[in-house]
Amino acid sequence: MNKIKEIYEYRLMVYSLVKRDLRGKYKGSVLGFMWTFVNPLLQLLVYNMVFSIIMKAGVEKFYLYLFVGLIPWLFFSAAITGGSTCIIAQKDLIKKIRFPREIIPISFVTSQFVNMLLSFIVVILVSLVSGVHLTVGGILCLPVIMLVEYLMALGIALISSSLTVYFRDLEHILAILAMAWLYATPICYPEEMVPEKYLSIYRLNPVTPIVNAYRDVLYWGRTPDLTTLLLAVGIGLVTIFAGVLIFGRLQRRFAEEL
């Protein structure tokens, strides 16, 4: 509880770091902040060409199917891979200044999250243009799904960032893991393509319910299934709880290890 209060007192630091990160990102490029929108559109174009022309997945409006899953995934994957190095990247701050260390992963994940939110403007537009009938219930569910994904990503970033300080290989291991994870999640293909006998293992993937929930709203145009949503909320809470505990334990020696 004390921790939460302390982090709340440092909220301006989160805001400043996120702002600094977003401002710095496209500095010097011609399109500048427009890249936040152009980048997902171009990615969509590439994936669409690959999967509708070369590797046909047999799904109607595949570009949308893919897009709705991919944008949340890119956020999640950035939180895992980039999150693992965020503490090391800020070692000068950690060694010299006292502040709740959680601020660093929180700022990192939040800035990725803001990026995702901006991309979602494009996602929703594409979804509307494609003729998906968005339901009120579905739209109301979106912030909940996003929040759950945020908590999960933050939980994982808390764990990976603190572990990487002690064990630097994790950075590279996580990069591979993130790639494998993408294919273990129904993003580039529908879940139905997974052979029956692997399905029980496949279903253990905690990201799947989240992706499915997004897809319910933005692809199928329906309110997400309550069990899917509850499962996602549960997973999100467990991850964040584990993340806070592990991080709290490991952060004590950060200043010495860095």
Binding site: Y10, L12, S16, L93, K96, I97, R98
Partner: protein, 440 residues
């Protein structure tokens, strides 16, 4: 904890693992298990003390004694292996200046970032914004990106934020050496002001005189334990004595002693009116330079030099345009006749700025039979803000040096106004244009 205690350190112990060759990657961990040999070094061993509210305390000790570790433990950057630190009120640690500065953002935006890292809320920053900008003297530049700043401007901005945090407890590690002498003097008086407001201050510094000027108490840490605790003057004397013994035990040279100590010790000895023989610190200073900056036949030796204003109180920092008094003591080993006293000013780069002696100035030569002193008063020194080396000499009338001490003393100058250049030139303006009093 009692009401009047600001910091309570109880049985504090901190150990560091010192790796001989640390492997952090998987391969190294598995393949070279025995390479991960380490020894555990106890940096602080069962240290306890209280610091009262409003007290200003200096932590001293040689490099690696644990004083910086202690400061980091108090600030909460490091966690103790044993014991505890209790603090009443908000802590601000000035261990790093300009934390989180982003070069592409403006000075104003960076104030927000930097201050937010110190834990200030938006309202708190807004309330302090004007005093931060005023203190930094960057009014015209505050909305320019920080990358366009000179390093001096950068440090000024960073220090201004840090000093305006308004904490109950202020922890400072060796950062008073920022900016030019002018700004340093300003930081110094700001610190005095903060102290008068009742803020508890803990300073780690190599500059003993700085600690003496600000602190009421000094704690000397040696080998992880408190060796002495008391008034700065008492503790520092003991400390210097100890360092001196250590150095002599180490053969006079090998121990790493910053030159400020040597200069400081000279001054101290002089103040205490110790014997006017050649003091070991000066020998050390000469030896440290390989002896190449001091030479002469040695019948008479300069024993101490004090720079001061008209009041005679020794100091190193002078305002441009004021009078500087150099009082030079000498010791006569063997009486000499026909001697000349000289002085010279040099830039740190070695450039000779001015030099003269009693013969050039038309004074009769001196016969030196016993220890004595002479004073030279440099009127309205025109040297613009920088550090200067002052040399002193005693030589025979024919120019043969008896004691020529080239790097005898360093002085700094500062100036209140932002005019530029190497020398101050006295001047007046005359004009006919109509004067505009109201800029509004």
């Amino acid at each position: 904890m009692e009401d009047n205690v600001a910091i309570r350190v109880s049985n504090l112990t901190k150990k560091f693992k010192v790796y001989y060759d640390k492997g952090r990657s998987l391969k190294e961990v598995i393949l070279f298990r025995n390479r991960n040999k380490h020894e555990v070094r106890t940096v602080l061993n069962d240290v306890s003390f209280d610091i009262k509210k409003g007290e200003a305390v200096g932590l001293i000790g040689h490099n690696g004694c644990g004083k910086s570790t202690l400061l980091k433990l108090i600030s909460g950057i490091l966690y103790p292996d044993g014991g505890s630190v209790e603090i009443a009120g908000r802590v601000s640690s000035l261990l790093e200046l300009g934390a989180g500065f982003h070069p592409d953002m403006s000075g104003r935006e960076n104030i927000y970032i930097n201050a937010s890292i110190f834990g200030l809320t938006r309202e708190e920053i807004e309330a302090r914004l004007q005093s931060i900008i005023d203190f930094s003297e960057l009014h015209g530049f505050i909305d320019n990106p920080v990358r366009t700043y000179s390093s001096g401007m950068y440090m000024r901005l960073a220090f201004s934020v840090a000093i305006n945090v308004d904490a109950d407890v202020l922890l400072i590690d060796e950062i008073l050496a920022v900016g030019d002498a002018n700004f340093q003097a300003k930081c110094f008086s700001k610190l005095q002001e903060i102290k008068e407001k009742g803020t508890t201050i803990v300073i780690v510094s190599h500059s003993l005189s700085q600690i003496e000027n600000i602190c009421d108490r000094s704690i000397w840490i040696n080998e992880g334990v408190i060796k002495a605790d008391g008034t700065p003057l008492a503790v520092h004397s003991e400390y210097l004595e100890f360092m001196n013994e250590q150095r002599q035990a180490a053969g006079g040279k090998s121990l790493d002693i910053p030159p400020e100590y040597v200069a400081y010790m000279q001054e101290r000895r002089y103040k205490e009116n110790l014997k006017l023989s050649m003091i070991p610190e000066q020998q050390a200073a000469v030896e440290a330079n390989g002896g190449q900056y001091r030479w002469g036949s040695g019948e008479v030796k300069i024993t101490s030099i004090t720079a001061s204003g008209p009041d005679g109180v020794g100091k190193r920092l002078f305002e441009v345009g004021t009078d500087v008094y150099f009082k030079v003591h000498y010791h006569v080993e063997k009486p000499i006749k026909d001697a000349v006293f000289g002085i010279g000013f040099f830039r740190n780069s070695g450039e000779n700025l001015y030099g003269t002696n009693t013969r050039i100035d038309g004074h009769p030569n001196f016969d030196l039979n016993e220890d004595g002193e002479f004073t030279i008063i440099m009127r309205k020194i025109p040297l613009m803000p920088d550090q200067y080396t002052v040399s002193f000499s005693i030589e025979y009338g024919d120019g043969v040096p008896v004691d020529y001490w080239k790097d005898a003393l360093k002085i700094d100058t500062y100036r209140q106004t932002p005019d530029v250049g190497g020398f101050f030139m006295e001047h007046d303006w005359e004009y006919e244009a109509e004067r505009q009093d109201d800029n509004g």
